[in-house]
Amino acid sequence: MSQYQEKATVSRVEQLSAKNYRLTLDSPDISGAAKAGQFVMIRTGLAKDPLLRRPFSIHQTSANGQFQIYFKVVGRGTDMLARVKAGEIMSVFGPLGRGFRIKKNSPAIIIGGGLGIAPMLFLAKSICRLKTDCSNDHIILGGRERSEVEPLVNDFRQFGLRLGLATDDGSYGHQGYVTDLLKSLDLHPGYTVYACGPEPMMARVYSICKSGSMQCQVSVESVMACGMGACLGCSRMTKKGTYTHVCLNGPVFNAEELIWNS
């Protein structure tokens, strides 16, 4: 397991909607080592405030040594990140955590909700690279409104997988939840469902998987200081009654290992 602290040059900043941005970073060590579902810790500034790095899932990597993150401005750290200019240098630490465990012989359903779409592009790429038969695979993307989904859709079309789209307000695709689209599929126990999104979404996805006896992997979020198992801040209760740590044992978990509040 190789982890790097890299000085990465920002090569591109894209504003995809009012608050959502995508950053492309030149970071050959990290992008070369990264697996789908892993994350990086980025220092959004060099001053003492904000102090801590911020975790971001890896949106996708490219063969020329770049990776991308896709994020929303929610606080001071992400606000600073949104103002970064191409050519600036950022301290990036990664790749961190355990990513998705791709099941080569199982048809895949990839579900991304809101910012949870971020790691799913890397996953879709990896799945299409690893698997010989993707004819039964699906991608379902959702969000509250058009601007959370539409700007990313073209990147997901390149895989030729069946693509389902949903928005809460119906401004794009199906009006309703990604779980409506999941339920409308001809589901069978052979499927592996990979999901990332808001907690209630993942809880519903898991409950559908459970009743349909399908494997379900989820990528969860947590506050964390270090991203590498030193601070023990990112604890999450497991079904066994013990705490697990999102940064080391996740962020991708088998959904059945975790406790879900429905």
Binding site: V223, C226, C231, Y243
Partner: protein, 316 residues
Amino acid sequence: MEFVDNREDIFPDLRVNIGSLEIANPVMTASGTFGYAREFENLMNLHRLGAVIVKGISLHPRPGNPPPRIVETACGMLNAIGLQNVGVDRFISEKMDYLAGLNIPVIVNILGDSLAEYREIAERLVGVPGIAGIEVNISCPNVKKGGVAFGTDPSMAAVVTKAVKEGADVPVMVKLSPNVSDITLVARAVEDGGADSISLINTLIGMAIDLKTRRPVLANVIGGLSGPAIKPVALRMVYQVASSVSIPVIGVGGIETTEDALEFLLAGASAIQIGTANFINPRVSEEIVEGISKYVVDENLPSIRSIIGGLSINDG
């Protein structure tokens, strides 16, 4: 033959003494910010450290507090991890082999709910190869009993120190809480109790509130503040304590740079610990060793020891 002053070939004298323990340089990693060291092995050269202080160990394993356990604050962070650890027996069987192989002094941070527990942990560590010292945590704000109570009452602090000293076969460092009105009282009590050295400060008790939900951010309600926000408080307390005890003092609190570390040495610390900064830059402690080394060379100091307590106070 021409003499070339090649500064890269100069190995400055960075050794410091913590009582009977001599360490190669004054940089240690603070308990609870460096795991059991192995977590950092791919990210830095562990052999460059003066000493490593491992995550606090209790007699029995502790699960820690429910999340959220941490929150960032201005120039710092609050934590309420709740001393999650594997317990002393698993620590010895699972972690010590690796630590002993590091060839750097390993200091084991211990904590208990009672005097008997503190003493028993110290006794179980007797004879375990690779342990150079014990750091006694009498100052954790995040557990219901023990911990902080021992740290705020000077007579209790002395009694705990004595209990650990009686049980231990290695030098004992006692880590003080800053959450007291006069830290020199606790420091002197701990010295009287037989401590070989004193480390300070542990975190300052703090709180963060989420206005939207009108709830505390931390599940534990309160937590310990660390990071650069606390450095001035730590410096002041190190200065006060170093002036009032005769045992070595180890400074900790918000150290992020070589300059920070040197300021603590001037204030009277014989060594320093790097804490929260490890979370942001896992190589920071090694970089500070390099920085201190460069400082000794650049300033033509005979050794790093020559600046310890070297603060000039202008009385005029």
